[in-house]
Amino acid sequence: MKKLKYALFTGCTAKQSTPEQMMSTLAVAKKLNIELIELTEASCCGASHLQDYDDFLSLVLNARNIAYAEKHGLTMVTICNTCQLNTAMTKHRLDNNAELKAKVNEKLAEVGLEYKGTSNVIHFLYAIIDDIGLDKIKEMVVTPLSQFNIAPFYGCHNIRPSELQNESHNSKENPYNPTSLDDLIIACGGMTVDYNEKNKCCGFHVELQAPKTGAILSGNAIAGAMDGNADWMVTPCPLCHLKLDTQTKHSSEAIGREVKLPILHMQQMLGLALGCPSDELGLKHHVSKVNFI
């Protein structure tokens, strides 16, 4: 299989609150013969909150991150939906506004960098599906997940706004009926759970300022998956993961029903199917215990 090579933008959580996501990304990349060049110079993407306070600074910082991927001459892959959104949104704005691009480049020139617009920005989920292909992944599965009902949880920023997502690889994704994660579950030999909340918001971004709203949204999501008879949930977003994995007490209280399921990162699910050793997938780092291994 041809070796794929990407510039990896880890985001912040993979180095802090979701170490298992970083571990499983590297494990899966190794199995799939993908070379990842980590962008160690990258800054935080602003996570949609810096954008509320200082829009221009967020553009400059995200453009700087992409500029480093461009220096490597590589497509940037992200492993966080919100990093994907903020980086892709920056790219979209700069590629479609020469005046803004010039202003940003004026700043980047102060540190010897330039944003050209030559590197694409895609989420790892879509890099895998589009560049390797589901058929190939299916061939590589050594431990089919056939005994599991798996509930996909897409996360907002990978599927909306669709016009932005259409600019990257996932042009076929329908935000009202997304299929990529379901397809990956099936390729891994698992059975997908169809439930209303799979393309809804987890509430992560209001966890501090509106905790009740956040807790109801995440509670509803887990409840929907449980009602669909899910054994576990899987998500491509570490922020969704954090909300669903660590806040189950609040979620249960908010919706008046006990909700708890193992919540796996997309990379962990794929790693299990590809036969990665479980210690390389970081399953012990979950708060909602992964009890089926």
Binding site: A42, K107, V111, S162, Q209, T246
Partner: protein, 326 residues
């Protein structure tokens, strides 16, 4: 002579039915129809009423995508019925289509909902130009094309309610203004003739009802049939709150500012310090979850906090590019 060929295909419709005067619970009626490639969703609503069941009710008026009356949910997607082609919807969802009102809990009769909450929130944001106008001006109050561009198409809203009822926060928080009201507030905040200035913005800053309770899910942007992008307006209102000095020190405003502080120090986000900065003494309520996370190796202690390579570059850019004040 046109060579365009009209095609038909069979579509199964599952239609929400409810009459608040006689029904205790809603139910669904199934209809199967041959749908032509020329039809829009409104044609189907018309055919159900005209050909199949005269009691079926829905709102319609202009049929030109401008009155906003005929917005419904189609397979969970907010849809302006007169604008959406059935062909596109079949391509998106296949041949099984569910038609429902924008909000099932506000259903009055079939597709018709009580939009009182929508209009109350619309009214609450002072949705008009506030200006001390000279009754006998000597010249017109001109708005330049560049100034008009600042409205960013917010004036194109047809108040159909698609974004409002697609918003998950509206669904669970009765106080939340919702994306349509925010887009309307922005429309006047961005108007150079408007003088309400901070008064309207103060409402936008309030806990529970204001912009800080937006979950950033982009459902509103996806739902809007006029491509107004309400969440884009919500972001602009956030920025205005800081620019105009309206943003007071709250968990939400500190949370936004904390990102800049953290990036300036580490390049990457310091998650623990951000929560402390945002919450202040209230951080104690997070201790049980933090302890669970710590036990699972999910909390990085301050002395192990990672930093971006070439941090000096980031710090230089933060210093030279940032103009925001708090």
């Amino acid at each position: 002579m046109s060579t365009h060929k009209i095609t038909t295909q069979k579509v199964n419709f599952k239609v929400f039915r409810f009459n608040a005067d006689v029904d205790y619970l809603p139910y669904y009626e199934d209809y199967t129809m041959e749908v032509t490639s020329e039809e829009v969703v409104l044609d189907i609503l018309n055919r159900i009423k005209w050909d199949l069941d005269g009691s079926f009710s829905y709102r319609r008026s202009c049929r030109h995508g401008i009155c906003g009356a005929c917005a419904i949910m189609l397979n969970g997607r907010a849809t302006l019925a007169c604008k959406e082609s059935m062909n596109d919807m079949i391509e998106l969802f296949g041949n099984d289509i569910t038609l429902e009102p924008l909000s099932k809990k506000r259903a009055v009769k079939d597709m018709i909902i009580d939009k009182a909450d929508f209009w109350q929130k619309h009214d609450a944001v002072s949705p008009y130009l506030i200006s001390d106008i000279d009754e006998y001006p000597e010249q017109e109050h001109l708005v330049s094309p560049k100034q008009a561009e600042e409205l960013d198409d917010a004036d194109l809203c047809i108040q159909c309610g698609a974004c409002h009822y697609a918003c998950p926060v509206v669904e669970i928080n009765d106080e939340f203004f919702g994306p349509a009201a925010f887009a309307k507030a922005y429309r006047f905040e961005a108007d150079v003739r408007d003088e309400a200035g901070t008064d309207r913005l103060i409402e936008m800053h309030k806990e529970a009802q204001g912009v800080w309770d937006c979950v950033k899910c982009f459902e509103c942007a996806e739902a809007c049939p006029k491509d107004i992008n309400p969440i884009g307006k919500i972001t602009k209102l956030h920025l205005m709150l800081f620019r105009e000095g309206v943003a007071t020190s709250t968990v939400a405003s500190r949370h936004a500012v904390g990102f800049k502080n953290s990036i300036a120090k580490h390049g990457v986000l310091d998650e623990g310090t951000l929560v402390l900065y945002s919450e202040g003494p209230a951080i104690v309520k997070h201790i049980p979850v933090a302890l669970q996370m710590f036990r699972k190796g999910k909390i990085v202690l301050p002395w192990n906090m990672p930093k971006s390579d070439n941090l000096d570059e980031i710090q230089k850019l933060v210093k030279s590019s940032s103009t925001a004040k708090f």
